[in-house]
Symmetry: C2
Subunit: 311 residues, 2 copies
């Protein structure tokens, strides 16, 4: 069974959900005047971790991927939990480095660990959970016609870094460094998420590629999104790799996953109060689906790219 | 590496902890006037699930083991999260039954699911997380000399049920039913935990056997615990199995794990305000370690029992 089928099977049975229905970056319940948001993400080494990642980077990423979902809800992260599945052949040094990576991430995001568990398993697994608190949770369903579509940071470096590694592309050390930083040690946009809470109309983090996230946002908000390819924030290192592999750089930017940038929608008059850098990449309109430069944009993502033999 | 070594390794590195140090049934942080408690527990089919358990029972238990840790903190469960590791050879029917078991438990405990994730893995894994809210969290470190030592329900049925199954013991259908109910579908003591919050001085749930839990409680509270074997709540079905396998029934009651009863300490004058059934099984005194009928009690548990070839 595919992951999406398994999720569908469980959603059919799990009727008792929180104060927000399942389907956002995190779940949420009201606690007094605030909202508690909670999310979990299981990392399995065999399928989720490129060989070249150090165990410290693996530990760091297990925290980042969960904290990013809390940030996408406009919440301040307040706690992290994790379970470790440990195969017999994993040694002490490897585990110790994972612990160091987790601790470094907890310091970086200023989040305490609340609980941890370990168990023997056939795969190395880190199942992380992040908790956060928000005055008002940001969802994927609040985008309104007239809103701007925006994104933090830049797009495409994670996938470009993967291609450099996988295809052994020869690039300048400076280029490799800029790409690997995002490919191997992406950071969650915590400060931006908290700021967006009172201002944005919707948000989502880029886990599976911008195109897929925008399709989710448009679908859950019941709107159409119009992107402008010229506005996509793409760094020259991504252009360089696109040239080397003979691909369209926009395609790399639209399908690159695990970027952990925040995509959000905001009323034009509210945008100036955001005190961090971001790019306006499009507009929300009446209708449905996602368009780029006036043409329909397919939900490109990792799976799609694999199908297209980009890897 | 043993689980305890792995935990030690991580504790060495994880300096950024919650408002209670790690080491209780759950972690905790202050949220406004309340405390948020959070706990996680990974269930791996190969090592944690007897073959005879139905997938629905597996799903139910994944919720119970986490909710029980929240109850042991004197907290009301407010949310459940889970990650599923799914091997390729696990079919749709098995997964659907797990979903049904999880939903039945969520209804039983009146807890919503806040987030779920799934991933391909070599083992079938359910990593559950329970969140709870308490005015004042109960810890393992608050037992004081003079307190009564108490336990909810009865002890030993989980292990006796395991022995009936594993050794194919011939018992009456009534006996089997009473034992399997506890062995295969133990329930967490949620109502009792909430009530204990303002009244008990310490609490812990029986996950690894009463003797082990009392050693933890005595050690973390810096006290001595004196048990009276005659006061242990042991049902006749456990006596019957003890006779069949030629073991001391007290030993079964003291080492039976995954009972999910709550052990707690309470000042004698506060005990009458508890509006549920429980047994007084001993006293807290000045000193250290655990004694039964005046003799030192070893920290018997599943591991110990295996060593003694009880299984």
């Amino acid at each position: 069974m595919r992951e999406s089928e398994i999720i569908g099977l469980f959603l059919k049975h799990l009727k008792r959900q929180g104060d927000l229905p399942l389907g956002d970056d995190a779940g949420a319940i009201r606690l007094g005047n605030e909202w508690l948001v909670a999310t979990n993400d299981m990392l399995v080494r065999k399928t989720d971790v490129p060989d070249m990642m150090t165990p410290e980077q693996v530990g760091f990423k297990a925290v980042t991927m969960n904290v990013s979902d809390v940030a996408a809800m406009g919440a301040k992260p307040v706690g992290f939990l994790f379970s470790l599945g440990v195969p017999r052949d994993v040694g002490r040094d490897y585990l110790e480095s994972i612990a160091e990576g987790i601790e470094r991430a907890l310091e970086f995001y200023d989040v305490p660990v609340l609980s941890a568990d370990t168990n023997e398993a056939d795969d190395l697994i880190i199942d992380g959970v992040a908790l956060g608190v928000a005055e008002r949770p940001l969802t994927r369903s609040g985008a309104k016609p007239g809103d701007l579509v925006c994104v933090t940071g830049d797009l495409g470096r994670a996938l470009a870094g993967y291609l450099v590694w996988r295809k052994g592309l020869e690039v300048l050390e400076k280029t490799r460094k800029a790409l690997y930083e995002k490919f191997l040690e992406p950071k969650a946009r915590v400060r931006e998420g908290i700021k967006l809470s009172g201002i944005a109309s919707s948000a989502i983090d880029v886990s599976d590629g911008l195109a897929k996230e925008l399709h989710l946002l448009a679908g859950m908000s019941g709107v159409k999104i119009e992107l402008s390819s010229e506005s996509l924030p793409i760094r020259e290192e991504v252009l360089e790799v696109a040239g080397l592999v003979g691909r369209n750089p926009f395609e790399l930017a639209l399908s690159s996953g695990e970027e952990f940038e925040l995509v959000f929608t905001v009323e034009p008059e509210k945008a100036p109060s955001l005190d961090f850098d971001f790019s306006v990449i499009g507009r929300v309109e009446e209708g449905s689906a996602v368009y780029i430069d006036g043409k329909p944009l397919p939900p490109l993502g990792w799976e799609h790219m694999e199908h297209m033999n980009v890897y």
